[in-house]
Amino acid sequence: MIAVTDDDRTYDVVIVGAGFAGGILAKELVSDGHSVLILEAGEDHGKTWETYRSYLDQYYLSLTKTPNSPYPNLPTLPSPSVLDITAVHGTEPDTNGYFVQRGPLPFGSNYLMAYGGTSLHWLGTSLRMLPADFEMQSRFGLGVDWPFKYEDLKSDYERAEWEIGVSADAEEQTPKALGIKTSGPNDNRGYFARDYDYPMHSIPSSYVDNFFARADGMPIEIGEDAGDTVHLKVSHTPQGRNSTPRRPKAARKILVGGEPQEQFRPRGSTGPFAFMGQRCEGNSSCIPICPIQAKYNAMKTLEDAKYTGKHRMKTITQAVASKVELGANGRVSGIVYKKYPFPGVPQYELRRARGKQYVLAGGAVENVTLALASDICRSSGELGRNLMDHPYMMTWGSAPEPVGPFRGPGSTSSYANFRDGTFRDKTAAFRLEIGNWGWKFAAGAPNSDVERLVEQENLYGKALRDKLYHDVQRQVRIGTLVEQLPRATNRVTIDPAYRTPMGEFRPVISYDLDDYSRAGLAASYDTCAQIFQRLGIRNHTAYNPSDAGYFTYEGRGYTFFGAGHLVGTHRIGTDKHNSVTNDKMRAWDHENLWLVGAGSMPTIATSNPTLTLSAMAYRAARAIKTAVRKGGAA
């Protein structure tokens, strides 16, 4: 047995993971006077300008600009990559990448293990869920209800929006204003609190958005009822990137979680580049990296925590949490972690971190592999199950006129009309995201266009430039994000046969799309086809049976990708038989253990999960503070 060295200091709270959830938890806890240790598996980077600059270098040098391309992929800490996704054949799992894929369909999403977590490469979409999304079982007889309602998360949404710095206008974001025919009669009432608004104004619409807005008002049939017909509307997407700060109306300040706030001050880059990134400049590389950090990343919140916490806040990077140890009464007594001194060399020292309370905030997959490896949280049998994502499908075409793509953030607007409605009893809800970057994600444009024109059409010189400009300027793309229901068979497990060079378990994933989601994807494809027809866009969408994410529905074939929205694996619930944690994210089986993150969400609905998980982190933080104060007594 290898000896484990104990850390000298015992903290109030030990957090695994320095991402969205870890950052907010740390900031909240140190602000309340508690001491916090964060264990981050990623390399010791991101803290100084040099490492962020090195990410940028890596990004510029990468031939394929995948979401993880700027960031190190270490043998000590392999990360999932979208380039590893292949079709799964038969019973033989696909072990190409970090994930072991059991299929039947490949799970196409990734995340980033680094200081700042996946916030480094997120797009910034910051949507609230809708009231119906919390009541899927009672409204549609599908999935599960959340243990609380939209109303109960509302003030935490406000806090999260002000921490992240979300740009949007509340009056444009109510379900009614978005053109959603909600499934409940009162869903629109009080969606935003009376004296609340977002910290910054909406990011201006792109030219592409305005082009699509020409189809506004067009009726689209969805579901079986004629009454379900919705009228298309292009609406701004709330985004975690800096725009013009909102000036509170003279006397009445903006109330955020009940607290009056002055005008928001946009936070730019971290470190000595603080004068950069106080506004989005449209560098158009949000995924994988914002060169000026105008897009929120968790390093900003972590920097606040470090500053507020001073000696109370400690971060240990290059520390892979390996085992959660239990003491008496099922209480957690420590977390054993592997501290590797050299990034890239799988040699490590075993150490043990101790605290009064322990939080797993490493993301929906990593939380589960750690918990499974530690043999904890087993009584419900739900741990690792109900893995959800937004199956992401693209439709693309050529507009009849130049629309100026490849400018601005990846997406500034969407058709939110299909996010709720009575059709949801049979067909999954979805959101249509209008892409600003042409066929970049869909077909690797503009590089692929150059290749095609040179290799196939033998063009060069001015003719090449002209044709390239002509083609690329007309590229449009719509992305569909469809909801998934929690399914016990979509799950993360571990298998001793599959480990990393550091000896950690690799996630073994079984994943499929049910007919509910497939119906949603089919409906969204039909909708896109109608929009294309109305706007005179020539449809170039091609789904190939050899695509890794190819599937069929009612005789037609489609291809889906992952959206990087990993949700549901350690869901909250009402009792220890249906969920892993209670509604405050405390593990049912271990009274001083908390699992926080998108894995806590019982359903995914149609909103990108970051804002919801951030809001839930505030909810958990309050409960953890109480637990620390009580000295951990139940």
Partner: protein, 361 residues
């Protein structure tokens, strides 16, 4: 017209002239800073086995000074608009040419040069604090700080003699606010409210320019009281010291003494990863190279567009400011393009932007 009215008219005219000079002064510094910044080679353009960006920090230091100069332009325009003046941004008779002098010959000479120690030293000279503000108050100013000391004095005098309400007569609609200005480099001070409030705001605006610039009256400290955004709220250092940082390859602490070298962390400078741009590029060098002449013309068009846009923003429609962001990117792109092209004279030096305003025919 009574003699008092005549006197007021003359005083106001004089104040407007001074502030217009200030506007041009701030503008004059921007092309040299931008040129030095853009001459630094970017990723992939220099010979390095390691994929690291060199000179990212010097670029940022110069860029910070540059965006503060832009903020100063906005502040001066706000003061000028507040007293009912008309900021002129596209009058070719007033616009700077290079090489040229600051303060109409009284200040140092400024050149367009690549990023090199001589140029950084000349930047430092531009931002030098006045040793003695005594002569400046009498109108004998030789530094930017001295010039602003004189402006403040004249403005206060005028207000005292004629009353604040006679001086601050401008249209509040012309005031650029933080909502309009792409807020880098600090926050805009709007000169609005009652005439007394406007007087205070105008003084605060000018003081802010002085403090960020040469750090004249900050005692024996490098800091300029301006807080860098961020959780730590670190104090920024004045421009003079920022350039000293580059020359010493080391950051200042705000509490460092102005007479001692900086004592903060390392700032890594590589003087070799720079385009060998000719000093003070001029159009005549491009006569034998039509492609260069065309590119230079394209650059000058973009620069002209920026100045015209600023003129509209300060005089007609504030929202014009936002549309200038892509324009500034274009200027950077074209400048870098020019600096990558060798001159046909075989000297090994490259072309560069001349920053010439193109007069409409």
């Amino acid at each position: 017209m009574t003699s008092k009215e005549e006197k007021l008219r003359k005083t106001r005219k004089k104040l407007c002239e001074l502030l217009q000079d200030a506007l041009m002064l701030e503008l004059t510094t921007i092309p040299p800073y931008a040129t030095a910044c853009y001459s630094i080679l970017e990723q992939g353009q220099y010979d390095r086995s390691e994929p690291t960006i060199v000179n990212a920090e010097p670029i940022e230091v110069i860029r910070q000074v540059m965006v503060e100069e832009m903020l100063h332009m906005v502040l001066v325009a706000n003061v000028l608009n507040a007293i009912g003046g008309k900021p002129e941004l596209n009058n070719p008779d007033l616009l700077p040419t290079y090489p040229g002098t600051l303060l109409k010959g009284r200040g140092p000479t400024v050149h367009l040069r690549r990023f090199c120690p001589e140029q950084i030293k000349s930047f430092r000279l531009i931002e030098t604090a006045p040793k003695d503000t005594g002569p400046a108050k009498k109108g004998d100013y030789r530094t930017i700080g001295g010039f602003y000391t004189f402006i403040m004095l004249k403005l206060e005098e005028a207000c005292d003699v004629f009353g604040d309400d006679k001086i601050f007569t401008g249209d509040a609609k012309r005031q650029i606010s933080n909502d309009d200005y792409f807020g880098a480099g600090g926050e805009v001070i709007e000169v609005i409210g009652t005439s007394t409030q406007r007087r205070d705001a105008a003084m605060a605006a000018i003081r802010k320019i002085m403090e960020e610039g040469e750090g004249a009256d900050m005692g024996d400290r490098a800091g300029d009281k301006d807080i860098i955004p961020g959780p730590e709220g670190r104090e920024d250092v004045a421009h003079y010291f920022k350039f000293n940082e580059i020359l010493h390859s080391r950051y200042y602490h705000p509490d460092d003494s102005v007479n001692e070298p900086p004592t903060g962390g390392d700032l890594i400078v590589d003087w070799s990863a720079v385009s060998p741009m000719q000093d003070d590029p001029c159009e005549s060098n491009y006569e034998k190279a039509p492609e260069l002449a065309a590119l230079s013309a394209e650059f000058n068009e973009a620069w002209t567009g920026l100045l015209d846009g600023l003129h509209i923003a300060f005089n007609k429609d504030k929202s014009a400011l936002r549309a200038l962001v892509p324009n500034m990117y274009n200027i950077k792109f074209l400048a870098q393009k020019l600096m990558r092209i060798p001159l046909p004279d075989g000297s090994g030096e490259t072309a560069g932007p001349t920053w010439t305003y193109l007069v409409k025919k």
